[in-house]
Symmetry: C2
Subunit: 197 residues, 2 copies
């Protein structure tokens, strides 16, 4: 049996190490910017070893998105997230993006894949759509409750505001990559100013 998720930090198997490295490269340099050779060299294995775990790059890419989707669902349902007040849930979301910034200014999954979307394998496209839809629906719910309970303020529908906010956050990480961390902080500051009642 593989060692995919048990509690403590067991030494990750090759399968996981491949996925971790591919994720890093995806979020720091883009999907078309790494090859099986790159991965193999850095992991100290032969390219064919990667094909053994992920027969094609499509499979690898799809596994990447699928894992992120699994993480999103897990995070969203975590008691320490699900039980927060809406305005705190919003702050928790911002913390996730801030964390990306802290890791070599990684963009988010969506921002990494959107531009090349049409060149991606269908399974990846489909998973990414689901990822974005579920995240948006979650935030819409947070915003709806937040306005009802008075902790958050905004015009328009929760769904529209959620789409706008997430789009802004994805873009903000991209701007941080092109310039530096400052514009990200400015944009997030603006979001807080407008939303927090």
């Amino acid at each position: 049996m593989t060692n995919q998720s048990s509690a403590a930090a067991l030494p990750p198997d090759t399968r996981t190490r491949i996925l971790d490295l591919a994720e890093t490269l995806l979020l720091e340099r883009g999907f078309n910017a790494f090859s099986y050779q790159h991965l193999a060299k850095e992991l100290g294995v032969k390219p064919a070893a990667i094909h053994y775990h992920y027969p094609s790059k499509d499979d690898l890419g799809t596994a990447l998105v699928t894992r992120q989707l699994r993480r999103l669902r897990k995070w969203r349902d975590l008691p320490r997230v699900a039980d927060l007040k809406p305005e705190e849930q919003f702050e928790a979301l911002l913390a996730v993006y801030d964390n990306h910034l802290g890791h070599e200014r990684r963009v988010c999954l969506f921002g990494a894949l959107a531009a090349d979307f049409r060149t991606l394998p269908p399974a990846m496209q489909s998973e990414l759509r689901t990822f974005n839809r579920e995240l948006t629906e979650w935030l819409a719910q947070v915003l709806a409750v937040g306005r009802a309970t008075g902790g958050l303020r905004y015009m328009g529908s929760p769904a529209a505001k959620a789409a706008q906010v997430l789009t802004t956050l994805a873009g903000a990480l991209q701007v941080a990559r092109v310039h530096d961390e400052t514009p990200f902080q400015v944009i997030v500051g603006q979001l807080r100013l407008e939303l927090l009642a």
Copy 2:
């Protein structure tokens, strides 16, 4: 002499046709998703002909961004744009993004290049930074005047709001690519609702 900009629609020379096609492919499929062979085949010339006009792909990419920057400056200074009221200038900006949407849901230049930014040649990086900076400064000015004259409303500084709005627009085109036109319209609708007094 080359035929780069004269008034009417002269038949575009190869140099321009290369740039036009490369731009289309960049905005519709991403920078790493096309090669000199692709360009050559579709233009009915040999790959070496492209190397003749743009010795390396770096040169081609840089020429692409440089042209966009030139267009931005030209557009911004056009009487039919510069002489508008701020709220109309904002609408003119939205029209540009809406036009991208209408052309096969192209993303904007920034959105096309941000994810792979670190893999781009330095000259391209630098030009893209300038492009984004000048656009942001222009919008900040529009927003500042717009609030002073009462046509636009928002919290915070013009610079912060400008960064936020442009980031949102870039992201909105990416979301449109991943899903469909609907989320773009929703997000732009939200921007209008909030900004137009």
